[in-house]
């Protein structure tokens, strides 16, 4: 790790990336400012759909943040040498994604000026309160872990630090799944399968994001990825995509079996308009089947197809979260089982949701913050994996 | 002896921190005026502590009617011209808070108007 020249971006490219990322981040902050000034009325969220696009972005980033540490864990905890060199990048990506996701989440609060209240008043039965501890802990432990990786004198602590990070993030992702699993009243949630489902989703999306970032780094530094390593990571992605598909299928099939859940499942899978579209076309086909095809088909296993597969997995992840978070709220609560209900407050009606521009700006702003942290980090520190061979000629 | 001087000097330096009159302080429209529930100087320093404690007692324990409730403050100190404690540069809360550049959060939720005046308006 120490006998390589530091990664040199072509300087113009670096500053261009910073400018682009900075611009998008500024737009996100502008959106947050507007939301704080005028209230959530400028968003598409309402009393029926209380969590919207920002939460889709935020939860994707948070889940991916924990999953990207898999790469590091496989190296540090499970001892696979090939992954050891990639651990620092994974750690930094994790911090970047978590920072971006939490920024979106915190700026979407009705009272973002009250973060201090959230940090000093803890209701111990609330998953959100646990998450405050879990997320801050992850920042701390990943930072310490990266120190053990990058500082040669600390290398003997890599394994214990890696183990702490590994355990911590399993708890964290379980916590993210529990946010929804604990909602007993909602038909979309209230299921013990959600924590494991989120865990496997984190593996999938984390690896996909890692892959995209790693490929970009290799390309921009005129290096080629070792095909053997690439193949291993590709196969891993395939396994994770299959795993997620399996758990999503189990979730829906068990729901379908219960008579009281059939109407909800019909809404999500068949009749709900955008939700079945997003689910089948977005998640199942684009996010799972096409990537699997790209991964497993013998003639398509080239590096660029793996990046394409990763990008599709990411888009599929967004689609799945959209259906899960927003579709889950759009279906009305079953307050009076056996009755047809109407009221002035949307009882018995499908919730309508039109995301506004501000929500997209905020979400992309969070992505931009993650992007900026990654770009600066990769430029400043040596995150390039060591074993790969550099290209001998330059463009 | 030197230690004593040093101690006294420290206290003297800190003395202005307790001072509550300074150059350029605004003249406030104190509404009904008269005798406040506590001495002015003490109130200037402690009103937030008192309000923070009182609000928890009211919200969580239902203790109402205390002389330190926000509603009671507004009742006396709302301007007699517009029945409000904010809105004008010399309004009771706004005047000093603007001068000290401390944002007032209370009236995002709480009514800044004298409640007896509002009742009168409603009954009209």
């Amino acid at each position: 790790m120490a006998n390589h020249s530091p990664m040199l971006f072509r300087t113009r490219l670096y500053y261009a990336l910073l400018a682009a990322g900075g611009l998008v981040a500024m737009m996100g902050l502008y959106a947050a400012h507007m939301m704080e000034e005028h209230g959530h009325i400028i968003t598409g969220m309402n009393n029926q759909i209380v969590w919207g696009m920002p939460h889709v972005f935020a939860i994707f980033m948070i889940v991916a943040a924990s999953g990207v540490l898999n790469i590091a864990s496989i190296g540090s905890v499970f001892g696979k040498a090939v992954y050891k060199g990639r651990a620092p990048l994974a750690g930094m990506l994790s911090i970047a994604l978590l920072a971006g996701g939490l920024t979106v989440l915190m700026l979407d609060l009705g009272r973002p000026d009250r973060i201090i209240v959230a940090a000093t008043n803890f209701n111990l039965t609330s998953v959100f309160a646990w998450n405050i501890v879990l997320y801050s802990g992850l920042f701390t432990f990943v930072a310490l872990y990266m120190w053990t990786l990058l500082e040669r004198r600390m290398n003997r602590w890599i394994k214990p630090a890696g183990l702490v990070v590994f355990t911590w993030r399993i708890i964290l992702t379980t916590g993210t799944g529990l946010i929804f699993a604990f909602l007993v009243a909602r038909q979309a949630y209230d299921s013990a399968i959600l924590p494991p489902m989120f865990l496997v989703m984190s593996f999938t999306w984390g690896l996909a994001v890692f892959h995209v970032v790693q490929s970009a780094m290799y390309t921009w530094n005129n290096r080629i990825q070792d095909p053997v390593i690439l193949n291993r990571m590709k196969v891993l992605l395939g396994i994770f995509v299959l795993g997620t598909l399996y758990l999503v299928a189990v979730y829906h099939m068990t729901n379908l079996y219960f008579a009281k859940q059939t109407a909800f499942e019909h809404f999500i899978l068949v009749s709900g308009g955008i939700y079945p579209w997003m689910f089948w076309a977005g998640y199942v086909v684009l996010g799972s089947l096409l990537p699997l095809l790209l991964i497993y088909h013998p003639s398509l296993g080239k590096p660029k197809f793996v990046v394409l597969a990763s990008m599709m997995v990411i888009l599929g992840g967004f689609a799945l979260l959209y259906v899960f978070i927003i579709g889950g709220q759009a279906f009305p609560l079953d307050i009076f089982p056996g009755y047809q209900v109407t009221s002035s407050f949307g009882d018995g009606q499908i919730g309508q949701y039109q995301p506004s521009l501000y929500e997209f700006l905020l979400g992309f702003g969070g992505l931009a913050i993650a992007f900026l942290i990654t770009t600066v980090g990769v430029h400043a520190l040596n995150f390039m994996p060591p074993q790969d061979k550099p290209r001998t000629e330059y463009k | 002896m030197l230690k004593l001087i040093a101690l006294l000097a420290t206290f003297l330096i800190c003395a202005p921190a307790g001072a509550t009159e300074s150059y350029g302080m605004p003249k406030l429209d104190i509404g009904k005026g008269g005798q406040c529930v506590a001495p002015t100087e003490w109130m200037r320093v402690n009103h937030m502590k008192v309000l923070f404690k009182q609000r928890d007692e009211t919200v969580h324990q239902g203790i109402r009617g205390s002389k330190y409730s926000l509603k009671n403050c507004v009742e006396c100190h709302a301007s007699l011209r517009d029945n409000s404690v904010i809105g004008r540069p010399d309004s009771f809360c706004e005047g000093c808070h603007r001068y000290e550049a401390v944002k007032i959060d209370c009236f995002e939720c709480h009514s800044s108007k004298r409640s007896t005046a509002l009742v009168q308006e409603e009954s009209k």
Partner: protein, 237 residues
């Protein structure tokens, strides 16, 4: 030697003086903190019994709540509704009925369990409230409520009622007119109902009107299967 003692004496005087100055405000506030009324206790549990058979085709309870609590009365998806009339029709028997729906003031409120700051809390006398001083507007309680009782304030508010503070960016719901209950009155909806279908009272007092009535007539909690032990019971459902 005596010089040293003199210095020590001076030092003690100054430090005791400083300590007294530091402690005094706290002691003063302790004296003043005992307000005019007593804190509420769990000896009382406020609840309501709603007779759906007598629920007329009106919305006087909704209008009364809006007036008492300073709500706009608007019906758009972003407007707060603390109480609403729900029209039900049994899908099998086609029997129709109507009832007012508000926060059910559960004994085991899911909204209290999920609130990260403890803003959503249950008062000792059973009324579930939002402490707006602590609410950060995360809306998790709105996700958790089985009754869709909570509303989020989506825009800046003006002209709030002095006894009912409400503000942008916080979550709110029916308070059982806590400002009236604490003054010995009944909630506005109960007072406004022309058929007296909403009976408010102390569930814990064995001889209160509501306690006697729930011992005799058949009443049920909505979503009783969730085991939340709501304070609001419905008759004729």
């Amino acid at each position: 030697m005596s010089d040293m003692n003199e210095q020590r004496r001076q030092f003690l005087k100054t430090s005791v003086g400083a300590a007294a100055v530091a402690v005094a405000p706290g002691m003063l506030m302790f004296d003043m903190a005992r307000g005019d009324t007593e804190p509420v206790s769990s000896k009382v549990r406020w609840g309501m019994l709603i007779d759906t058979a007598n629920c007329a085709d009106c919305d006087k309870c909704v209008k009364a709540c809006n007036k008492e609590n300073g709500l706009s009365g608007g019906l758009s998806p972003t407007d707060s509704q603390w109480i609403r009339k729900v029209e039900l029709k049994d899908m099998r028997t086609e029997r129709s009925l109507a009832l007012p729906m508000m926060c059910q003031h559960c004994e085991e409120p899911p909204c209290v369990d999920v609130c990260p700051t403890g803003a959503s809390f249950k008062r000792a006398d059973g009324i579930v409230l939002v402490d707006k001083h602590l609410c950060i507007g995360c809306r998790y309680c709105m996700m958790a409520c089985p009754y869709k009782a909570r509303s989020f304030v989506h825009e800046p508010l003006h002209d709030q009622k002095p006894d009912v503070p409400r503000g942008k960016g916080t979550v709110e719901s029916c308070t059982m007119c806590v400002q009236r209950v604490d003054a010995g009155k009944i909630p506005a909806c109960a007072e406004a109902c022309p058929n007296k279908s909403i009976l408010f009272g102390n569930l814990n007092a064995p001889d209160s009107e509501i306690a006697k009535k729930i011992r005799t007539v058949a009443s049920t909690q909505i979503r009783a299967d969730l085991g939340l032990d709501t304070g609001i019971r419905y008759q004729g459902l």
